[in-house]
């Protein structure tokens, strides 16, 4: 009979002694995991609103992007997609290491993650160039800039968090909870990259399919 089961049975009859329970857990057992999930839900909704605005404003134009505005160039955004895809295995590897309390590896993992995030931010700058329009040119410009910026905030947050965590892991003192934090930061990473794959299709591909 598992630890939990015995506790449940105990609870039905009388008092429970929980002194034997662990104090650091991973995944959906941990509070921070649920916190991260909550913020992913809120930020996800934010991105959805931007996408909705993009699609809604599209109905006001005969051509999309509007006549005179060239299609957004693919290069920077595509590199972004490739780079993000490449980063995911690294983060999975880091998450595994954190669950094994492997300090050395998660230090490396967090350094890599902040480097990746920084690269994403730089690429984002070039993506904005590749839109060939300004936010104050017309509603199309406003919509695409809004989408890219909304997602850029995720990148910045991720870089900030990754860098801080890395610094903590090197300078210490390292507490067990930091391993769980690394695990959560990986979870957030999957969300951040996944969100971009969708937005990439929306902003850079969909106008080419049905302009």
């Amino acid at each position: 009979m598992s630890e939990r089961e015995s506790l449940r049975v105990a609870g039905e009859t009388g008092s429970i002694d929980v002194s034997g329970l662990p104090s650091t857990v991973f995944g959906h057992r941990a509070l921070t995991w649920w916190g991260t999930l909550g913020y992913m839900a809120a930020e996800g909704t934010t991105l959805i609103v931007c996408a909705v605005a993009y699609l809604y404003l599209q109905r006001n134009f005969a051509t999309w992007p509007p006549r005179g505005t060239p299609l957004p160039s693919l290069s920077a955004a595509t590199i972004q997609v490739v780079l993000m895809t490449a980063s995911i295995p690294v983060m999975i590897w880091t998450a595994r290491a954190s669950r094994r309390f492997d300090l050395g590896r998660i230090r490396l993992g967090m350094v890599l993650s902040s480097v990746f995030a920084l690269a994403f931010c730089v690429l984002r700058w070039f993506e904005l160039q590749s839109l060939h329009t300004r936010w104050d040119t017309n509603a199309y410009g406003s919509a695409v800039w809004a989408i890219l910026f909304a997602h850029a905030t995720l990148l910045v947050v991720q870089f900030f968090e990754g860098a801080t965590l890395a610094a903590m892991l090197f300078l210490g003192p390292v507490e067990p909870k930091h391993f769980a934090d690394v695990d959560d930061s990986c979870l957030y990473w999957y969300f951040m990259t996944g969100a971009w794959f969708v937005l990439y299709l929306l902003v850079f591909i969909s106008p080419r399919v049905w302009g």
Partner: protein, 184 residues
């Protein structure tokens, strides 16, 4: 302690003054005649000894509502016909920092009221003085002579961008096709 308090109060006072001045809506202006036409001297020649010409201060320079009214009147009175939305056309551009007849409020006031050679008509008697002052404030805001928090943001018209950037005029959604109507 008391010092900091005093400073704080003073700061609050300043903010209050500015906030108020920027945000007040002054609807019931004194009629045009009340502010005398001669507030601004149109020529150097004066009878009697030379009077020191005091700088005229425009009541609307620090008032966002006045400036936005000026913006409305600017297109309402068809200034846009010649000056476009500041970009210029038949008339000179107003966005740049070049002023043929001076950039001071009183100069612009004179330009509007008296008119200028080569096409600028005189609006004396046609535009009430307070509206002229509102126009003056707006015109000065076009070339960034007013504080940023008072100058109006973009208008709801098309942006003055290069032609190809613009979108084609929009067809209204659910456009209505008039059925044959009897003529009264």
């Amino acid at each position: 302690m008391r010092q900091t308090l005093r400073v704080g109060l003073f700061g609050a006072g300043c903010v209050f003054a500015l906030g108020c001045q920027r945000e007040t809506r002054r609807f019931r202006e004194s009629p045009p005649a009340a502010t005398s036409e001669t507030a601004v001297t149109m020529s150097e020649l004066q009878p009697g000894p030379k009077a020191r010409d005091l700088p005229v201060l425009n009541p609307y320079e620090r008032n966002a509502y006045g400036v936005s009214e000026g913006e409305r009147l600017f297109s309402a009175y068809n200034c846009t016909g010649c000056h476009s939305h500041g970009g210029g056309g038949i008339g000179p551009a107003l966005m740049d920092d070049q002023w043929i007849y001076g950039s001071d409020p009183e100069n612009i006031f004179a330009t509007i009221v008296e008119g200028r050679p080569n096409g600028m008509p005189a609006f004396r008697g046609k535009i009430p003085n307070n509206q002229v002052w509102q126009l003056v404030a707006y015109v000065r805001s076009l070339s960034g002579l007013l504080p940023k928090d008072i100058a109006p943001a973009r208008d709801d018209h098309m942006v003055a961008g290069p032609e190809p950037q613009r979108t084609e005029p929009l067809l209204p959604k659910h456009a209505f096709t008039p059925p044959a109507a009897e003529h009264p």
